[in-house]
Amino acid sequence: MIGRVRLLPQTGAGWALVWLGFAALAALPFFATPFYVGLITTAMTAAMLALSLQLLVGGVGLVSLGHGAFYGLAAYIVYFLSPEGAAKPIWLTLPAAMCGSALAALVIGAISLRTKGFFFLMVTLAFGQLVYSVFHDTKLGGGTDGAYLAKPLLSAFGFTLETTSLPRSKRAWPVYYVALVQLVLMFGLLTWILRSMLGRVLEGVRVNDGRMRALGFNTFAYKLAAFTIAGALAGAAGHMWAMQSGFVNPELVGWHRSAEALLHILLGGIGTLAGPIVGAFAFIFLNDVAQQVTERKLLVEGAVILAAVLLMRNGITGLRWLPNLPSAKEGTAPDHDLAPPQKEAHVDD
């Protein structure tokens, strides 16, 4: 029996809390107004993006600033497949978007993972910007202004769900549940990955890449696998965005999107898998409240980040009054008997 997985809840109570959270989300549309159903769909999309990035940041210690590229690319793939007036079914658009993003992540990862530390950050940033410049400077996807698309149809086995057939107050429900199902599936998939051999090796890479290589692991291949999976999952998030908003523009690809996903991770807690979800929800709600008070959106965002970086170093899930979700730095979990002291991942070799 190998030790527990660092990023996952360490106790039954912790798991209960996670599933309770998902159950609350499942019940929420019955109590909330359509506005909040829409807002939480947005939050779940952001949570999916942050969750996919957490595989790299929390799981491997790779801080990528180009993750938004895969998110935006997927949204653009939906636009290409399902342009305005020619809606395609979701069983076509979702796999296509995820495959496209995975392919892009495979290529970009293969090049950028040759570098590490600061270089990795800068190279992923530049790659993201390369994708951005393709959509921003050419007429490929509507240029700077972006373009409308036909939201993918919710159809399966010949049956199509027409949202217009629903009462007005329930029209946002199908998209909401599509997002929730994907979020839960993604959480489950990442749990499975973190428990698998791949996850174990990635944790080893995070702690000490050189030592893992000395043990005979081809760490590059493992990192590339993680990068590609994270890209595909970011693609699912991008697809979700297209599905909810029916609109694409180059800002989806820009690096601010990646930085926001990093912020969600940091805010929620870098040391837990649930952290990015909590962080995304907290941030989107904070933003919504702030916008009712002040028009200075960036000021609020900047202040929140400063507070998170300066004061709350382990994020919301790392706060002490949540005992079941272990924090990254405190090493509260008893699973460190074999691991060396927690250090940064970019140990030289």
Partner: protein
């Protein structure tokens, strides 16, 4: 002289103008990228807000020109103000983030970008503003018969070269420069030798900030000032640092010139390939992203950049 000769003549004139543009752009890039690479190399800090310093410089030029009617005051004010701003930022924030994780540094500097943009919106609004070229330099300089180039752009080239030379002498020939080189190469040596690492960091950050602010001031009359103008420059500066190699001033210099020329020429001549077969279409499509393609090639060849140490 036939019309063909005339067309060729104007083409070569255009070529010279584009080369000069590329040189001038590359030199401005150097001012920004050298600060970025020094701060990386010496302090181990990734500063995403470096582009915002450039923007602050440009808006300072705009505001000062509007108030005083001339750009001349902005230069010394920007240099001194930049040094002071850099020192204040280092002392209050960056000093405490030198040992923190990348993610924390990224988030801190991302927050600073957002705050700088908000400040810019408060002070100068969200419109584009043009900054007049100083009257003293607002004339064309004849280069060859029938071809003239803006005196201001020449002045920018000259001033940037002067600053680059000063940087070079400072780094290579002075005591402080030797300490900085030591710190960039091996931070532990600084501690072992009993040098004051804090002072070195303060100086490096202040100088890097001042260079970015000055670059912004010089660029203001050329590009006009607009929201988010630091963002694009930041990314290109990263590309410069990646190609040049971390912490290398010489690397930043040559790679900035390379990027400046490739970007300018790519954007000027790439689109002309449109419609000359499938290869031409590909070239035309890639011309806007030529610097990124260059970066990919360099990385595949040498993952630590052209002038980087092989660690």
């Amino acid at each position: 002289m036939g019309p063909g000769h005339k067309a060729r003549d104007s083409k070569s004139k255009q070529m010279v103008a584009q080369l000069l543009n590329g040189l001038q752009y590359g030199l401005l890039l150097f001012l920004v990228a050298s600060g970025l690479t020094l701060v990386f190399g010496v302090m181990g800090i990734i500063n995403l807000a470096h582009g915002s310093l450039f923007m602050i410089g440009a808006y300072a030029a705009f505001l000062l020109t509007k108030m005083t009617g001339t750009l001349w005051l902005a230069l010394p004010a920007g240099l001194l103000g930049g040094l002071a701003l850099g020192a204040a930022l280092e002392w209050s924030l960056f000093r405490h983030f030198a040992k923190r994780e990348h993610l924390d540094q990224v988030m801190l500097t991302f927050a600073l970008i957002l705050l700088a943009e908000e400040l810019r919106a408060l002070v100068a609004g969200n419109d584009f503003h043009s900054v007049p070229v100083p009257a003293l330099l607002d004339f064309p300089v004849p280069v060859t018969s029938g071809f003239a180039y803006s005196a201001y752009r020449f002045a920018v080239i000259g001033l940037c070269l002067l600053l680059a030379l000063a940087m070079f002498l400072w780094i290579e020939r002075t005591r402080m420069g030797a300490k900085i080189r030591a710190a960039a190469e091996n931070p532990e040596v600084v501690d072992i030798l009993g040098l004051d690492a804090r002072r070195i960091h303060l100086v490096v950050f202040a100088v890097g900030t001042a260079l970015a602010v000055v670059a912004g001031i010089l660029a203001a009359p050329l590009t006009s000032v607009y929201p988010g103008m630091g963002d694009g420059l930041l990314i290109i500066s990263f590309v410069v640092v990646v190609i040049g190699g971390l912490g290398s001033i010489a690397g930043a210099f040559w790679s900035a010139l390379l990027i400046g020329l490739v970007d300018t020429l790519g954007k000027a001549y790439g689109p002309a390939f449109q419609g000359t077969g499938p290869l031409g279409t590909l070239v035309a499509a890639g011309s806007g992203s030529s610097v990124y393609i260059l970066m990919i090639i360099v990385l595949l060849w040498r993952p630590t950049g052209l002038f980087g140490q092989r660690t």
